[in-house]
């Protein structure tokens, strides 16, 4: 498996560490209540198709990356720096 790091280009999967679904970008407000945090931390769509997820280019430039990847084929549709995605979301 190879992953396109937005900085470094195509690199071997072994340079990256996977975290989980990209919903982790949207931490609830501190006063959102316990249930909101339970949903945020534990419950997942876990789709069999397109999946937005977070990877860390651990052994490379150490960027957190938001990838869109198909869970059935492992094919990556896009990769973006998480910081850019987050800033864009604001």
């Amino acid at each position: 498996m190879r992953i396109d790091c937005p900085n470094c280009g195509s690199r071997d999967r072994r340079e990256f560490q996977y975290l989980g679904a990209a919903v982790l970008m949207d931490r609830p407000a501190p006063d959102a209540g316990e249930q909101a945090f339970v949903e945020y931390v534990y419950f997942r769509e876990n789709p069999a198709g397109a999946h937005r997820e977070l990877w860390l280019h651990e052994m490379g430039c150490r960027s957190w990356i938001v990838a869109e990847r198909n869970m059935g084929t492992h094919e990556f549709a896009s990769t973006r720096l998480a910081a850019d995605v987050k800033r864009g979301a604001k």
Binding site: N7, C8, G9, S10, R11, D12, R14, E15, M59, G60, C61, R62, S63, L81, A83
Partner: protein
């Protein structure tokens, strides 16, 4: 006053050679990290130009002056190698840390250097894709490393505490490649 003697992380380990290949120590005088403060990249670029005569390298690139150079290290992060940072003028725009003792620096040189490195590093090392003027952070035998092409070979930087492991793996690969070179 106590007299403390410095010791290189490669002390007793290098130099090594096998066939056409050599692995030598290449400790620079200074290494510093430079991280641009939020929104201060262009100001930092100007300050670096003024103080060190260096432009900020693009992603994966190196900019160099005669005796010092600047390596791209990550988003808004650089390593200044070979010169002490002009701290007061840079600090306004960047966070600096001394990295001069953190890294063990080696030169792997000779025909087949890329093949040696390819035993332990998944980077695409083909010259046309990764040549002089470029640099990359990548794993070397599961250790974080900085690989920078140089004439006939590569500069390899690993954390000083891992230098013994890195030298061991590179040496074994050098011996293996030297033996394979004699195979028809």
């Amino acid at each position: 006053m106590v007299d403390l003697v410095a010791k290189s992380p490669h002390s007793g380990l290098l130099p090594l050679s096998a066939g056409q290949l050599t692995l030598t120590e290449a400790a620079p005088a200074f290494v510093s990290s430079i991280q641009a403060r939020q929104g201060k990249s262009s100001a930092l670029a100007k300050a670096l130009q003024a103080s060190h005569g260096l432009t900020l390298p693009e992603v994966g690139k190196v900019t160099a002056a005669t005796d010092h150079r600047l390596l791209w290290f990550g988003t808004d992060q650089y390593l200044l190698i070979g010169a002490a940072p002009a701290a007061p003028s840079l600090s306004e725009f960047a966070a600096l840390t001394d990295q001069g003792d953190a890294w063990a620096v080696m030169h792997l040189v000779g025909a087949g250097a890329a093949e040696v490195l390819a035993r332990h590093c998944p980077l695409d090392l083909r010259t046309e894709r990764f040549g002089i003027g470029q640099t990359a952070r990548a794993p070397l035998a599961d250790m974080p490393a900085i690989i920078t092409p140089i004439a006939q070979g590569f500069e390899i930087m690993v954390l000083q505490s891992l230098s013994r492991t890195a030298v061991h793996h590179l040496h074994q690969a050098m011996l293996s490649l030297a033996a394979q070179a004699s195979l028809i």
